[in-house]
């Protein structure tokens, strides 16, 4: 064996492990180079990481940047009120215009629908009224649309606020809770003003006026929509008084079914004098 051969043998014995290790690293580098060269393979590896980072960033935006953005917007708006008004004016104007035109459209549809009903009893009555009063039929229809209407009636036990009976045109939220809250509001107002001899008589809510008429053991809460004048209020008061007399006469407070039948018969037929 020559000196060179001995040296080669010695190298093989001593450096086999290192060589194998170096070869595996070279292989890994080659694979990595290949991944970096091929776009789709690189994106496969990197995309989930970027997505995760982006998700975190998006999630944390309100927390990290929210206060700074709000503060800067506040200052910006404070410093340039005129510009803000100028920018918002056309948008708000358009919105209001759109809302009004939508409402007019609804009203006009209702007028047309009612006007088409010419040969009904009501249509003939309206025509006669128009001829005799000189007011156009459409004006009468519009005026009719704003007529006061009893939407809901509650007979509520005084003090406890327990619902004894009710009448309603449309289903509403829980009537027991309405009765309780009405009683609480009534009690609060009467208590707060220390007017034990005076009662809360009405509550205005959205498009409704709720009238409260007190009797000995209970009170009647009547929710009315439409234009409700003082004259009509008197009429309603008299009507409620009649209903109350009937309730007492027939002793209906202990029979919810019979009481509600009476309320349905009386209030669904109720027409105010201007109708």
């Amino acid at each position: 064996m020559t000196e060179d051969e001995k040296l080669a043998l010695l190298k093989t014995i001593l450096l086999t492990d290192d060589r194998e290790y170096a070869e595996s690293i070279t292989h890994k580098i080659n694979v990595l180079e290949e991944i970096l060269r091929e776009r789709h393979r690189l994106s496969e590896k990197v995309s989930p990481i970027i997505k995760e980072q982006l998700d975190d960033f998006t999630k944390n935006i309100p927390q990290n940047l929210g206060p700074a953005i709000t503060e800067s917007l506040k200052i910006q708006i404070e410093n340039s009120k005129d510009e803000v008004v100028e920018a918002l004016y056309p948008i708000l104007g358009k919105m209001i215009k759109k809302y009004i035109s939508q409402e007019i459209k609804v009203l006009s549809e209702q007028v047309n629908k009612t006007a088409k009903d010419t040969f009904s009893m009501q249509g003939i009555k309206r025509k006669m009224k128009s001829i005799f009063t000189g007011v156009s039929e459409n004006e009468i229809i519009i005026s009719d649309l704003g007529n006061a209407k009893v939407e809901q009636v509650f007979i509520i036990e005084k003090g406890s606020g327990i619902l004894i009976g009710s009448f309603h045109l449309k289903e509403t939220v829980d009537e027991d809770m309405i009765s309780g809250m009405l009683t609480a509001i009534k009690g609060f107002v009467e208590d707060a003003f220390k007017q034990s001899n005076h009662d809360l008589q009405s509550i205005e809510y959205d498009l409704y006026e709720i009238h409260l008429h007190n009797f000995h053991k209970y009170y009647i809460a009547t929710a009315v929509s439409g234009t409700f004048t003082e004259t009509l209020e008197n009429e309603l008061e008299n009507f409620n008084l009649e209903v109350s007399q009937e309730i007492n006469k027939k002793n209906l407070l202990d029979s919810r079914e019979a009481l509600e039948e009476l309320l349905l018969t009386r209030y669904s037929a109720l027409k105010f004098s201007n109708q």
């Binding site: 406890s160 309780g180 609480a184 009690g187 609060f188």
Partner: protein
């Protein structure tokens, strides 16, 4: 179906609202929101094949029951006086408070209950029960223990 007005009274933060929410909606929230004025909820319970509609008046917390607006207490069929078992200040004047209710609302049943029983140290419950023997029941709005039983009990008394 009969309807009964139940008024829940007691000091601030004893868990009156949580108790009602646990009973009506079966939820519990650790956030404390002060009740202003009165809040009304309802739930129907069945007692001996009868339906009882409980109208629950959740009043705002007060150190002195006499401060509650009389209008809220009128016509009440049953009172639930709630204490916090971890705060003696909420039950140390219970006798005078319930006496006030008895004097002003003759014959109206009153149930005195201790809420937050879940916060009692496990080993000391029987000891604490002895200390709180003047209470009709221990409940936990957080864990729901005894809540249903409490309202069924009052419904049974009233039906």
């Amino acid at each position: 179906m009969i309807s009964k007005k139940i008024v829940i009274v007691g000091h601030f933060g004893v868990g009156k609202t949580s108790l009602i929410r646990r009973f009506v909606e079966d939820v519990f929230s650790a956030d404390y929101k002060v009740t202003i004025g009165v809040h009304i909820l309802k739930k129907t319970v069945h007692v001996n094949d009868k339906e009882v509609n409980l109208i629950l008046w959740d009043t705002e917390g007060t150190d002195d029951i006499e401060e509650i607006r009389k209008a809220y207490l009128l016509g009440t069929h049953g009172f639930i006086f709630v204490c916090d078992v971890t705060r003696p200040v909420t039950y140390q004047n219970i006798e005078s408070q319930t006496q006030y209710l008895k004097d002003n609302f003759n014959k109206v049943p009153i149930l005195s209950i201790g809420n937050k029983s879940d916060l009692l140290p496990k080993g000391s419950i029987s000891e604490k029960k002895e200390e709180l023997e003047f209470l009709d029941m221990l409940v936990s709005a957080k864990e729901g223990n005894n809540v249903q039983r409490l309202f069924e009990k009052i419904a049974k008394i009233l039906s």
